[in-house]
């Protein structure tokens, strides 16, 4: 027996909560990065990283999205990505890269709390994200 009304309301409530968490991050980062795009800061960072990005099949300024994802979280990374006008393939590569490795500061602190070798896990995540991005860029 399913309590339709309760289940429906629970779903709405969970959906709104999750969406709000995302929206709170997306709006400020989206605006911030749009402003930064008008300044030389982005192209400066992009120039430094573009040699590496090339191997991942990504434009230089995607480095900013990766840094935002690594340090803050996926939604910060996505908010930075969207104004860059990437292709579907580049979005897929970034999706795998950031899926494997994001929100590193907070998540590494969480892993430290479960009393395990968190620094080793951190190293594994970052290496895997770069290796996998390089690999699927060759495959797809």
């Amino acid at each position: 027996m399913i309590a339709y009304r309760e289940t429906f309301l629970q779903g709405i409530s969970n959906g709104l909560k999750t969406s709000l968490i995302l929206i709170k991050v997306v709006i400020p980062f989206y605006i911030l990065i749009s402003i930064l795009k008008e300044t030389p800061i982005i192209s400066y960072a992009a120039n430094i990283f573009s040699p590496i990005m090339k191997y991942l099949g990504l434009p230089g300024d995607a480095a900013v999205a990766i840094l935002a994802g690594y340090l803050v979280n996926l939604y910060a990374g996505i908010a930075v990505m969207i104004p860059l006008g990437l292709t579907a393939k580049q979005i897929t590569i970034l999706g795998l890269l950031l899926g494997l490795s994001h929100n590193l500061i907070i998540e590494t602190l969480v892993l430290r709390e479960i009393k395990t070798n968190y620094l080793l896990l951190l190293g594994v995540r970052i290496s895997l994200s770069l290796v996998m991005a390089f690999t699927i860029n060759q495959i797809i």
Binding site: I2, A3, T7, F8, Q10, G11, I12, N14, G15, L16, T18, S19, L22, I23, V26, I27, Y30, I31, S34, I35, E38, T39, N73, L74, Y75, I78, A79, M81, I82, P83, A88, K89, I91, T92, L94, G95, L96, G99, L100, N103, I106, E107, V110, L111, E113, I114, K115, T116, N117, Y118, L120, L121, V124, R125, L128, M132, I136, I140
Partner: protein, 153 residues
């Protein structure tokens, strides 16, 4: 960049940000409702059995189930409380905690993470597939290593 230029950029980006937010709402809310109904039906029981079998294959006991599933579906950061609590209360072996950590480090919050990239135009199979394969392979290989040696991490 002068001041009026800055205002223009802010207004345009605010519009873009609001549009993206609405898109997120329109996709996530119905999905969560759907997910709630799935949970009510036999979804979790059947999924549970399959995952139980897979867990055995990668060297994890059923005691690891709660922290593992919380992490897989909710994410490390969101499920932190449960993972920390479970890891302590159940006094899981050090090796097993590391295996859970390894699995979750590569594969967590998979529904939400994948969906969000699909919304903006990515290929879900290529984003999710490698993560699942990597998590299963790594956990399997390491559990064998732990099994055949007394090496402690």
């Amino acid at each position: 960049m002068d001041f009026s230029n800055l205002i223009t950029v802010i207004i345009i980006s605010l519009k873009g940000a609001i549009f993206l937010s609405l898109k997120l709402l329109l996709i996530i809310v119905p999905l969560m409702v759907f997910y709630e109904f799935l949970k009510q039906i036999t979804f979790f029981k059947k999924g549970g059995k399959v995952l139980d079998y897979l867990m055995g294959k990668v060297g994890l006991s059923s005691r690891a189930a709660i922290p593992l599933f919380t992490g897989i579906f909710l994410g490390i950061a969101y499920g932190a409380g449960i993972i920390i609590q479970e890891a302590r209360e159940r006094s899981l072996a050090k090796e097993e905690i590391f295996l859970i950590g390894l699995f979750l480090a590569t594969c967590h919050a998979v529904v939400e993470d994948t969906l969000i990239f699909v919304i903006i135009g990515g290929n879900g199979c290529w984003i999710l597939g490698p993560r699942i394969i990597l998590a299963l392979t790594f956990t399997f290989v390491l559990s064998r290593l732990f099994h055949y040696s007394n090496h402690r991490i």
